[in-house]
Symmetry: C2
Subunit: 202 residues, 2 copies
């Protein structure tokens, strides 16, 4: 297909497609003339992922290029590619102290996660914020949350397509970033529903 068709199929404007081609986020097409090239389904998939990283994930073009490079390098280990995508997504927290408690908790729950996973730092920061306001998180409540988070993750991972690495990575980026506000809104609505049932009774 020509670049106009690539744009139409993906819904990405031609100017953005050209920008991503120039910046190396999407590989060049097969040249069919001095100013023309042909693209195929692999370009469609890569373009969708590039857009998800930049527009949904909020990554810079340079960060997106790094993630895509790790995807190209990591053929055969989708899990490692997903880890790279995860690490590149916001929130990016300063590497200021070692996520000791978060790592201990993950180990206690039997979760196999990379010791440098960005989410460990996110968890450590969140636990510190609770301690700072005098409302530290108990191991018991964290364990109940962890159990439910694991069930949510099972739903998420079951929804990842196994057809191609690009499609899988796109689903992970969109699912991580855009389902987070869904989950938070559902939790608040459920809190209201549960409190209507429980708290009004006294």
């Amino acid at each position: 297909m020509r670049i106009s068709e690539l744009s139409r199929v993906t819904g990405v404007p031609v100017a953005t497609v050209k920008y991503y081609l120039r910046e190396g986020l999407v590989p060049s097409g097969r040249a069919t003339g001095a100013t023309q090239a042909q693209y195929d389904e692999s370009h469609v998939a890569r373009l969708r992922l590039a857009r998800a990283l930049v527009q949904v994930g909020g990554l810079s073009v340079a960060s997106a290029r790094d993630v895509l490079a790790s995807l190209d390098a990591g053929k055969g280990s989708l899990h490692r590619v997903l880890g790279a995508a995860h690490s590149a997504l916001p929130p990016q927290l300063a590497d200021d102290h070692d996520p000791t408690r978060a790592r201990e908790l993950a180990t206690a729950w039997g979760w196999r996660v990379h010791p440098d996973a960005a989410a460990l730092r996110q968890l450590e920061h969140a636990l510190q914020a609770l301690a700072d306001v005098g409302a530290p998180a108990s191991d018991e409540r964290l364990a109940r949350y962890a159990d439910l988070a694991h069930r949510i993750a099972e739903v998420d991972v079951a929804g990842v397509p196994t057809t191609s690495t690009e499609e899988a990575a796109t689903t992970v980026v969109v699912g991580t970033v855009l389902w987070e506000p869904v989950l938070l809104a559902l939790r608040r609505l459920a809190q209201e529903a549960v409190s209507a049932e429980v708290l009004d009774d006294y």
Copy 2:
């Protein structure tokens, strides 16, 4: 207790205590001299809540005053007070279109929520964002998320103290705002753990 003791017990600096008193977030103490007043446990509880709203919830002092006023007005209906606290917390979304689908979903799940609940708008916005990138949320996946969000809310509501309205509202504000990043970090860690188990197999 004197103002210095009130500051020491709550960890809120004296200058901030004086500011909150002046702005009406915390009621005046019992005057014991031209420049001195006595405070009691009710001031401690109210000061903790005011700080939670402003420093944790990110509310303006004016918004915090509104929430506290609804708390004073709503004696006897804790559920309504919690609704007011929820509505005042970020994210504050523009009231641009009616949260039709979110309301239908809540009804379908049997959740008793106020038809103008802020979380309905949050959910509608999040669902719209998914549709915009061509990855609309299915009713089935939303139902599974809703079930798990309801279990999380049960953990949350069970942790709300029933001793006083101030303490309950403080717990709700802290629990809503500061446990959100905990939940998101746990979900990402769990995704990594689950994908290690599942995705590496192919």
